[in-house]
């Protein structure tokens, strides 16, 4: 690699770092994204100027096809479907890593790593590890995509000996890699790919739909490590640096999500949490009657309050209620109330999902607050309006040591003067735990589709 090429790749790496750095505040974020695009452009142009790269026509066509597909998907996608889109994109990075590694295996001279059949040991190790991570990322992301999109049941699929099979497969892959590094056999290469595909599926199927924020972040991390692995094969620092950035980003996001649920990463990975199983286990019959209200009551009560905090959850996203919710908030503000939004770290199906949905509905970002910023204010708040969320408000997380959600940080909506829960029915949340707030005197349940309920309240406020 010439000095100029190396320098250009370094500039790209720095631009990528600055691009992530820009996301520290919404006011600098768009510039950050632009720096990322600039970094990528420099990386691509630099690579194209490599003397070994000659087939511009074919590359141009491939690039154009991919670019058109990517752009048209990104322009059309609904913001509620972001998590599955990101999962799908991760799968492509994984698959691309497998293809690059396969290509390096069949034509090592293009990468300056020896000739067919006599690739140096170091390159073989890097290549096979990059391939394995890429392949796991590919199938794992596809299953995550299927669960988020609803193609595959969101319930955890658990069977006996599952973890044992995973362990065997994992050891098998390591054995295959060792053998491949000695023999350089092509069947072994594809066996590694195949076994990694299988383990990618097996790792994700036991994990329930609501744990997907952790999984999507984890796969984000994997896609970075796959890129770093290929970077070693190519002796390319840009790929290693970028891979490490993406890898640590995904790992940190997974950590934040796990902390938001007070669960260990291993506990999430082992799966089996939530879904039907948990609902039946935790579904103790409850004869108490929750107080049910209608939209007109809610409108009247909120119109006369000074401070309101809205707590949105995944149910709001499913019902596409964000626009109606914002309109309701505007009317309440016009009536003289202070309206703010409180976001739990694991609300929605990917980190920061609620913030994007509220931003889409034109809610200013300075009215949307994180758990730490707003939790103390509930005690001085007249109304807490919980829409499509449940577990993240459940005080059992603080009081009931036997509860599945014990220790999870919650939004203290119970301290507000008046509580509203917008829900479809009385069913318990993902964790399968009953929420005793539903039976409090100052709680009013508003049953129905989140969007419909908001629209009815808007009508009530306009009268």
């Amino acid at each position: 690699m010439s000095t100029l090429t190396t320098a250009a790749y370094l500039v790209s790496s720095v631009l990528f770092i600055l691009s992530l750095r820009g996301l520290s505040h919404p006011s600098t974020a768009r510039r950050g994204n632009f720096l990322g695009i600039l970094g990528m452009t420099i990386a691509i142009v630099t690579t194209l100027s490599n003397p070994g790269v000659l087939s511009y026509k074919e590359i141009g066509i491939a690039f154009l096809i991919g670019g058109l597909i990517g752009t048209s998907i990104a322009v059309k996608i609904q913001m509620t479907a972001l998590p599955q889109l990101v999962a799908a994109f991760h799968s492509l990075v994984g698959l691309a890593a497998v293809f690059v590694a396969a290509s390096a295996y069949y034509n090592p001279s293009a990468f300056n790593i020896g000739t067919v059949g006599s690739i140096p040991m170091g390159s073989l190790i890097e290549m096979s590890i990059g391939t394995a991570i890429g392949a796991v990322t590919f199938t794992g992301s596809i299953i995550a995509f299927g669960k988020l999109q609803g193609f595959v049941s969101g319930n955890p699929l658990v069977f006996k000996g599952q973890h044992f099979i995973n362990l065997l497969l994992g050891l098998g892959i390591i054995a295959l890699i060792v053998k491949f590094c000695i023999d350089q056999n092509q069947e072994l290469f594809w066996l590694i790919v195949f076994a990694s595909f299988v383990i990618g599926v097996l790792l994700i199927v036991p994990i329930g739909g609501a744990d997907m924020p952790v999984i999507v972040s984890m796969l984000n991390s994997y896609s970075g490590w796959a890129a770093a692995g290929i970077g070693f094969t190519l002796s390319n620092n840009l790929l290693i640096i970028t891979g490490a950035l993406v890898g640590s980003s995904g790992a940190i996001l997974s950590y934040i999500m796990c902390k938001g649920m007070n669960r260990s990463f291993l506990n999430v990975l082992l799966g089996g949490f939530g879904g039907e199983q948990a609902a039946s286990a935790g579904g103790v019959k409850d004869d108490r009657q929750a107080k049910q209200g209608n939209a007109a009551d809610a409108a009247f009560m909120m119109k006369n309050s000074k401070t309101i905090i809205i707590v949105p959850g995944y149910g709001m996203a499913v019902a596409q209620a964000q626009h109606a919710l914002r309109e309701m908030g505007d009317l309440l503000k016009a009536a003289g109330a202070e309206v703010r939004y409180a976001i739990h770290p694991v609300a929605g199906r990917m980190p920061g999902h609620m913030n994007v949905l509220l931003a889409e509905a034109n809610v200013p970002y300075d009215e949307v607050l994180e758990l730490d910023e707003i939790n103390r204010d509930f005690s001085e708040t007249d109304v807490a309006f919980v829409i499509g969320a449940n577990d993240v408000t459940n005080p059992a997380a603080k009081t009931d040591k036997t509860s599945a959600i014990y220790g999870m940080p919650i939004l203290d909506v119970e301290n507000a003067g008046q509580l509203f829960f917008v829900k479809r029915g009385m069913a318990s949340g993902y964790a399968g735990v009953q929420n005793e707030l539903f039976f409090r005197d100052n709680t009013l349940m508003l049953f129905g589709d989140a969007k419909k309920v908001c629209e009815d309240i808007i009508k009530g406020l306009e009268n």
């Binding site: 974020a29 691509i44 070994g52 491939a62 190519l234 490490a244 920061g352």
Partner: protein, 129 residues
Amino acid sequence: MSEISNQLESLSYKAQQIANEASQLASSVAETSGGHSDFIIFGITVLVLACFVGYYVVWSVTPALHSPLMGVTNAISSVIIVGALLAAGPVDSNISKYFGLVAVTLAAVNIFGGFVVTNRMLSMFKKKQ
């Protein structure tokens, strides 16, 4: 605003310093011996240092922008296209080249998709008027 740009500058300065140190280390390694196997230890050095940079940069990302963060990281992880272009580069057609072209297409989907969707997300974040 100026504070942030100052921070950016100091960060880029630090990153360059790290890179300089790393390249010095690499050249000292290269002097003692030669060939590809030396890249591994150099590469690991870069990897570890980049993980530290990533750690500090990502913790400074505001939680409200975690979805755009995933969009951007998704797009930049497609820098793997560098490998794909090298694979697709040779003139003579063989299996290796076709693998490269497929990888170029996949990475391009991600690059464009990732940056465009992130831009869409970020353009929606507005301050109170």
